[in-house]
């Protein structure tokens, strides 16, 4: 287990959020969903996963799969901060001269599998976890899913298979930000009680505050890996976390800000002032 340096984690998470905001212009990005999982990804890459730019080709590395692929600005922000990719590349967002677009792809070092269509990477992760087990590798496979993504039947189909085959080097992290694209989850397709659902499917269930590094560290340190059951961490998060002007706003799922707004939002993120937003709220993408 890596040591926990909370002030370093917090510094990185601010930088990652700045990257997310800077990618939310000139074509836009899924800003709200990216901000909700930023702390999770910062924690996982800095303090849990055994992978770094030097070990990204090692067979025994840990593998993270971003199944809710539209929050990829958070992942690329982490990659830029940790040296997987040159931070300057983030300025290529949506440019055809690079491969940085709205969903992850394996052209980017550190991305283990592409995504975009929801409900795919849990089954891909099961395959990778069983592969590691057969090879007697210590790799752990972490699959980050959205809460809205839990609407997909393929998630629950894969949950049955993972439990049946005792895939106990597999960890699902639910980014429980309470929203799916345009609505609160409980107003459209109620998900609660999520923990009971996973428990009933034969999973070990853990719950954590997805923005509290101490709590995340305690939770991920207490996972029971290798005990015959897959683990799930339900991480309570806030969509748009860190930027009050867009936090918890159903209409700030996908954002395409003006450059002025980005500057003001970065100021807001750093507690200097409140942004004045006039760009369209894009409900559907």
């Amino acid at each position: 287990m890596k040591t926990l340096d909370i002030s370093s984690l917090q510094r990185t998470s601010i930088h990652v959020r700045e990257h997310i905001l800077r990618m939310s212009t000139n074509g836009g990005a899924f800003t709200g969903a990216s901000l909700s999982c930023a702390d999770l990804l910062v924690y996982l890459y800095k303090s849990f996963l055994r992978v770094d730019p030097a070990s990204v080709g090692n067979d025994a590395r840990d593998l993270l799969l971003l199944s809710k692929g539209h929050d990829v600005p958070a992942l690329y922000g982490v990659f830029a901060e940790l040296g997987f990719i040159d931070p300057d590349r983030l300025a290529n967002h949506l440019s055809t001269r690079d491969s940085i677009y709205w969903h992850p792809n394996r052209e980017i070092p550190g991305v283990e599998f592409h995504s975009g269509s929801l409900g795919h990477l849990l089954s891909v992760g099961i395959g990778m976890a069983i592969d590691a087990r057969m090879r007697k590798l210590a790799s752990r496979v972490v699959v980050v899913v959205g809460d809205g993504e839990l609407n997909e039947g393929s998630i629950w189909e894969a949950c049955l298979t993972a439990a049946a085959h005792k895939v106990d080097n597999l960890i699902v992290v639910v980014d429980r930000n309470g929203f799916q694209a345009n609505m609160r989850t409980e107003e459209l397709i109620p998900l609660e009680p999520i923990a009971d659902k996973f428990r009933a499917f034969g999973w070990l269930v853990h719950e954590a505050d997805g923005h509290d590094y101490d709590d995340l560290h305690q939770t991920f340190s207490s996972l029971l890996l290798g005990c015959g059951k897959p683990n799930v961490v339900i991480a309570m998060t806030q969509r748009g976390k860190g930027v009050p002007s867009i936090a918890e706003r159903a209409d700030r799922w996908f954002c395409d800000f003006s450059l002025r707004e980005v500057v003001e939002l970065v100021d807001e993120l750093n507690g200097r002032s409140t942004a004045e937003l006039s760009s369209d709220t894009l409900v559907v993408r």
Partner: protein, 315 residues
């Protein structure tokens, strides 16, 4: 143990990287689970999960052979095949059981009769449609070693004719009439209907119609040279398939015609399914659908007598 089980066992012994998955479809694999140990995984009735798992294993270096009923494999799991196997060009073979007419009594839900169309539409994914167990096993032997993603129409029936060429993707084999020049009729076919075509030949020859029969083997890659050659050499080309008219061999021939600007005098007679077929015992289905040898010979003879090239030319 059947020859396919022996093939899987041999490849598993030769390479640590081969994994066999099934979505609870074990009929033709029943002897291998205890022999393959942890390299055989039954995921349950979960085709999407099976394909996603196979893709995850493949990008970690494995070659994965998956099995499910053809209809559920290609349609329930279609998006997983497209996204998770097609996009990364993952080393996954997808073996579809009871394709086409072979679903006999199951009814329309189980009829994979658009599988060739939808699978060949996915970039990177090939399509192999063998006509007997020997061709299936020989092709699988090649494809497992080759490691490219393929959809394969399974067939477990014994051979009804000797194969004339070793299996090679994109290379058709001439099963009959290689020794005649400019045949009256060339039948292009694949899979189960290629077997039926063999029974048509003596019926047509008894009417003095000279026939060539070509087993296309892989529909992607397609043997374009062979199709072009038959379009130019034969009076009439018949496409014969247990697949919907849309998107199968007839469509492929149409694409070849357009691509090569040679439709001028080509007469192509498509024999395919226009909709879901009447479910029942296979022999009765063939008769009901007009796909038994006698009915087919009569249909082909009628088409030939009205479409010979000379009559077109003189019009």
């Amino acid at each position: 143990m059947n020859s396919y089980e022996q093939l899987l066992l041999r490849h598993c012994q030769e390479s640590d990287e081969l994994i066999v998955l099934t979505a609870e479809n074990r009929g033709h694999l029943r002897n291998v689970p205890p022999l393959l140990g942890n390299r055989f995984i039954d995921v349950g009735i979960a085709e999407q999960t099976m394909i996603g798992m196979a893709a995850g294993m493949a990008v970690r270096g494995r070659t994965v052979v998956t099995h499910a009923l053809a209809a559920f494999l290609t349609m329930r799991a279609f998006e997983f095949i497209r996204d998770d196997v097609g996009i990364p060009n993952a080393s996954v073979l997808m073996v579809g059981m009871v394709p086409g007419l072979l679903s006999d009594g199951n009814g329309p839900t189980h009829q994979a009769i658009e599988d060739v169309a939808i699978m060949r539409g996915i970039p990177n994914i090939g399509v192999f449609c063998p006509m007997d167990i020997d061709e299936f096993v020989e092709g699988m032997d090649y494809l497992i070693t080759d490691g490219k993603p393929y959809y394969v129409r399974y067939i477990g029936l014994p051979p009804v004719a000797a194969h004339t060429e070793p299996f090679l993707p994109g290379v058709a084999e001439v099963l009959h009439g290689n020794d005649i020049s400019s045949p009256d009729v060339t039948i292009l076919s694949y899979g189960f209907m290629c077997r039926i075509a063999l029974s048509i030949i003596p019926l047509l020859e008894s009417k003095n119609i000279r026939v060539r029969l070509v087993n296309m083997r892989t529909l992607k890659p397609i043997d374009e040279w062979r199709i072009r050659h038959e379009l130019e050499d034969a009076q009439v080309v018949v496409t014969l398939e247990d697949h919907l008219l849309t998107g199968g061999l007839y469509s492929i021939v149409g694409e070849v015609l357009l691509r090569n600007h040679i439709p001028e005098h080509a007469s192509v007679f498509p024999i395919a399914l226009s909709s879901w077929f009447k479910p029942g015992r296979l022999q009765e289905v063939l008769a009901y659908e007009g796909l038994d040898p006698v009915a087919l010979a009569s249909r082909i003879e009628t088409f030939f007598s009205t479409h010979i090239k000379e009559s077109v030319v003189h019009e």
